[in-house]
Symmetry: C2
């Protein structure tokens, strides 16, 4: 019987597997034209699957003209065996290059312990979906549709949706950045912006100077292109200027990559005076800075600080990457590169070569959302909400976690350096058994050398889980501390 040879894979839609099996049977000659298929009831019983899956498969096969069901008689194969198959196999794993191997090996979604249902997860720094003002977004979406409709559906422009570009230019002016001889390229979020810059302007072996620790996705991208990542220590005010100068001098770097407004993972906000110091050092060595405006908008425990780009005047030394979508609709994937206009002209061609352009529907909806004032309204709400959560997290950490220091002036995450040389990976393994996960700190260091830090992302964790989760982490730290205190050899 045809279904005695099928192996159902639980991860894929069952009705598709049934369909595929019948088509294969025809191709292999096992099912000739006019031969009768078992009834849906029989198949469902035999394979212990829902009858609806079998019915769906049969219905679609019938609408494709592959089988025919005759009322009261049964279901029959309607076509002849046509296409013969001549399989051959390629060993693709031997074909992957350094770039794809790096991206695979550094893909934390695959290498880190997976999140599970009902886990308390401090891994993500994504925003809380429940705070999205959905009615406002729907209105923006309908506005976009009303004003643009077909324009959104046919080819757009690689540079981006013009009204959104103009909006972001104005946004830069508001941040006191000089836009003369500058331009903007819209990208699929920060990640694409950074990938476009790095893939266009660096060569294997080039050095990039960045903060220590820094955004793991940036490290991943730099390493995927074979770059040399040099990290510079930070204190609570930002990069260490003495070390920065030494390394600028020693390594002759191609770029600096900085997250001054909300370092990921530490949450350190580089102070205004320090920004000037950093800027002047890069200027001294004529090294351009890629400034990541990460969550600039979210600062709530310190007064707003202007981006480093505001120091450049009409100079072109800073390439600024903006991305409102880190706190607002990450699913839409909208970011931008603000830089020298001749450079943007090149990057526009690169963007076109990579994927023609970003979704115009998203860009237009996003534009109307901003234009309608919904973003400012949203920010007001979320600042208060996240500040309360932040305070709770700090309170709980003070209560349960023995740390050397914690950093983070708000935002959606806090970085913890553990006392007593507690290993954060060992801690994670213990917590995982209790259903609690966080982001171990080593992924934010190019050499993965740091073993005693971790990041707590709390954007999507509710109060109760914050309390329980941090308690559990504390409990496991105790277990590890006790172990460490047991003398290794009994006297």
């Amino acid at each position: 019987m045809i279904f005695s040879t099928i192996n159902i894979n639980k991860d894929k839609p069952i009705y598709l597997q049934i369909k595929q099996h019948i088509i294969d049977g025809i191709k292999k000659g096992e099912l000739k034209k006019d031969s009768k298929l078992p009834s849906t009831r029989e198949v469902s019983k035999l394979l212990k699957i829902s009858r609806n899956s079998v019915i769906s498969a049969y219905e679609e096969l019938e609408s494709d003209g592959i089988i025919i069901s005759k009322r009261g008689i049964g279901t029959f194969i309607a076509i002849e065996n046509e296409a013969k198959c001549f399989p051959y196999n390629i060993n693709y794993s031997s074909m992957t290059n350094d770039y794809s191997n790096n991206l695979k090996n550094l893909d934390i979604i695959k290498t880190e312990l997976p999140n599970k249902k009902d886990f308390i997860s401090f891994k993500s720094i994504a925003p809380e979906s429940d705070l999205f003002n959905l009615d406002d977004f729907k209105r923006a979406l309908l506005d976009a549709w009303t004003y643009e409709n077909t324009n959104l559906l046919n080819y757009g422009y690689a540079k981006g949706y013009k009204p959104l570009i103009d909006y972001f230019l104005d946004y830069m002016i508001k941040k006191r950045v000089n836009i003369k001889n500058k331009d903007i390229l819209i990208t699929n979020g920060f990640t694409e912006a950074f990938d476009i810059i790095i893939s266009s302007l660096t060569n294997k072996g080039d050095t990039i100077i960045c903060e220590k620790p820094t955004h793991n996705t940036a490290i991943k991208i730099m390493k995927s292109y074979g770059l040399n990542v040099v990290q510079v220590d930070m204190d609570k005010d930002g990069l260490n200027l003495i070390e920065l100068e030494k390394k600028l001098d020693k390594y002759n770097p191609k770029f600096g990559y900085l997250i001054p407004s909300y370092n990921n993972p530490t949450g350190i906000v580089t102070k205004s005076e320090r920004r000037k110091g950093i800027y002047n050092l890069f200027k001294k060595f004529s090294v351009p800075i890629i400034e990541d405006g990460f969550n600039e908008e979210l600062l709530y425990s310190s007064s707003p600080v202007e981006p480093i780009a505001s120091l450049a005047g009409e100079g072109n030394g800073i390439i600024y990457i903006g991305s409102l979508s880190k706190i607002l609709f990450p699913g839409l994937r909208i970011g931008w590169i603000f830089a020298d206009e001749k450079l943007i002209d090149v990057l526009e061609s690169v963007k076109r070569g990579k994927n023609i352009h970003s979704s115009f529907l998203d860009q237009s909806a996003f534009y109307y959302y901003l234009k309608n004032g919904s973003f400012s309204k949203y920010l007001k709400n979320v600042r208060k909400y996240y500040k309360d959560k932040y305070n709770l997290v700090v309170e709980m950490i003070n209560k349960y976690i023995p740390y050397e220091y914690i950093t983070g002036e708000g935002g959606l995450h806090i970085f913890v350096k553990l006392k007593n040389n507690i290993n954060s990976r060992e801690l994670l393994n213990l917590c995982y058994k209790d259903g609690v996960v966080f982001m171990p700190g080593d992924i934010f260091y190019e050499d993965n050398i740091d073993n005693n830090t971790f990041r707590i992302g709390f954007g999507r964790v509710n109060e109760k889980d914050i309390k329980n989760g941090i308690k559990i982490i504390g409990k496991n730290i105790k277990i590890l501390s006790n172990k460490a205190n047991v003398p290794k050899y009994k006297l």
Copy 2:
């Protein structure tokens, strides 16, 4: 006076330039706190710009707290000079690498004659926006919103929107392709799909075999990565098998890249028997094929042909790139890679490294559009519409253009090889003066060697313009023929 030093750039929003100029004035110390600004009327008169632009600039500056207007008295600077600027300049054009230089130099949007308003343009092979069934799409968009809302706005998955992946898997089954041990990655259209494959699986100097001529974007991407592009001649049934075998043997290529269902630019549909021959040769040399399913759906002058992927059975030799959005909503940028599931797992990490994932809003709206049956309905309409246009184009070409041959069995374009060695670039220059443009054929050859061909894309050209445009091309061919026939030296 502050505005005597401004140079208005007509290409950028004027109100933004006014804003920028005032902020610069403050930074430079030219505008001190409490100093009075000229009235909007004065500025508009002085700079010969619309007063509304000046009003917008002043309004925004006031809402940013930078200026203050006192009723009946005037407008004043409200803030102190704060951030000093220390410009430095980088020569980015010396930093671009081979990849970005190639993408810039091969960017036909920049290198080809620009289209102008009121031109008759046969350059594009994009579909006619007027045919988009907008009500159906709006319904799909609202369905997506209703069923998913917040899910679309927070982070999604690099592989894509699950219901859409399942839909495309089923779509492959309908094309008689075996999906066992295969999987799908959703991409930003064909371009990203091809870029992901090439950037992941090739190294500089590798050879790829493809049709002659072939899709210029594919040539651009292959060259941007420093690949060796080897083209194989076609006849009206597809690739020349003898030449293909020779070149497979000689070049030891990494991949074949084929557009069997609707070669771009020739519109040749590779016949069923020839597909088997091609497949068997690649199999013989164990070379995988990247099959571009370009406009498969649009075939209307021949019976449907199954993709080469349908010949592979459970083998993994074919990597299939699908993209319904070539004829349907190119603005949404949705395509997919169907391939060996272990390979898709690697490519998923690459996609995540390039831009995390494609827009979930687009993917979901597209899914509901397909699920609601709107795509089939749309296809029925457009086939008839494009077939009529196609017939008109062929009729006009037969009447006015002396060709050696024309190819294209429908679709949205036709390829013309001119008689008498008429140079298609010279022809384009003449036609340009008459307001008619088309795509010169040389861009579809890796060595740009072909000088006597061009592509006529007619998807978005109306009947009247088709008639006039082809007449004008014909007229200019006559001019060039006459020139060529004038003896070079008078006797």
